[in-house]
């Protein structure tokens, strides 16, 4: 219905504006209905301006900036209708160390209401987790679950199948 869509849209928009500023340490973002008269059919436009930069189309943003903007929008939707769990597969691939840290801090704000299952190659993301599961293929072609300790994260090369054996 129109009322419910408008209510959701307003809430997601408010969350997005706040989460973007949190992830970017400033700047400005918005989501806009392209066709405000036709709420039930209108497409949605995204505006994102990192701090200190001029507004430009989101296509010009860098790889890492696009990931951070997408995460802000995703979590904005999530916050308006929380799912009991959230599964993220290598969403931090394009992030530098500083943004990786901001991303992981943001996840912490949602942990109270939702369970997160995150796949990552980043040691920083691993260190921020509560539990680590390792998956390895000691026998070629066959996946096996192993337990990984937090002390392993920095001591061994987690990506080396031999190390995890």
């Amino acid at each position: 219905s129109v009322t419910r869509f408008n209510a959701t849209f307003a809430q997601v928009r408010e969350n997005f504006v706040e989460l973007f500023r949190k992830l970017f340490g400033g700047g400005k973002a918005d989501i806009v209905l392209l066709n405000p008269e036709d709420v039930l059919e209108s497409g949605i436009e995204i505006i994102a301006r990192p701090p200190g930069k001029e507004p430009c189309s989101i296509s010009l943003l860098s790889g890492g900036e696009k990931t951070m903007t997408a995460v802000a929008l995703l979590m904005a939707v999530f916050r308006s209708k929380p799912s009991p769990y959230c599964i993220l597969d290598e969403v931090d691939a394009a992030l530098d160390e500083a943004n990786n840290q901001r991303f992981n801090s943001l996840v912490q704000e949602f942990v109270k209401d939702s369970q997160f299952i995150i796949i990552s190659h980043s040691k920083r993301t691993m260190s921020a987790a509560d539990v680590l599961y390792g998956v390895t293929m000691q026998e070629p072609g066959v996946s096996k679950k192993i337990s990984v300790r937090f002390s392993d994260v920095h001591n061994i090369n987690l990506d080396d199948p031999a190390a995890l054996a």
Binding site: K81, I118, M137, G141, S143, K145
Partner: protein, 165 residues
Amino acid sequence: MQIKKLELFGFKSFADRTEFVFDRGVTCIVGPNGCGKSNVVDAVKWILGEQSAKSLRGQEMLDVVFNGSANRHPLGFAEATLTFDNTSRRLPLDQAEVAVTRRLYRSGESEYMINRQSCRLKDIREMMMDTGAGLNAYSLVEQGRVEVLLQSNPQERRAVFEEAA
């Protein structure tokens, strides 16, 4: 309605019965390239009713059945079970735990179960539909897909908002 457990048996590279127990908070899954981490994400989608083989990176649905390795023969079926904590009774069953099972045989035949009771795929999808925990666009982000919300055309983006409304 958090995930308590995921069991895989014959699903993609998980030739041996493998169980992942999940807790509240953040669980991080780690391991080398190609060892099976994203296959775990595919299993969750599959159990929740994903019908597009392409969305599971396959050419046809039978691609999810373990098809052998250097030392193993292909298996005759793929099976995966997702167990939810239902103390909140968010799922419409009067049980503290709800286990959803999906099985696919090489013959192409499928089986579906809720708490070991045989059911149809549509029963699973309908049960998940109002919980915010089904196959929606914002509680599961596949590898390489985080920027999809930014790239997609305004109409596709709208679909995500509608799921949250």
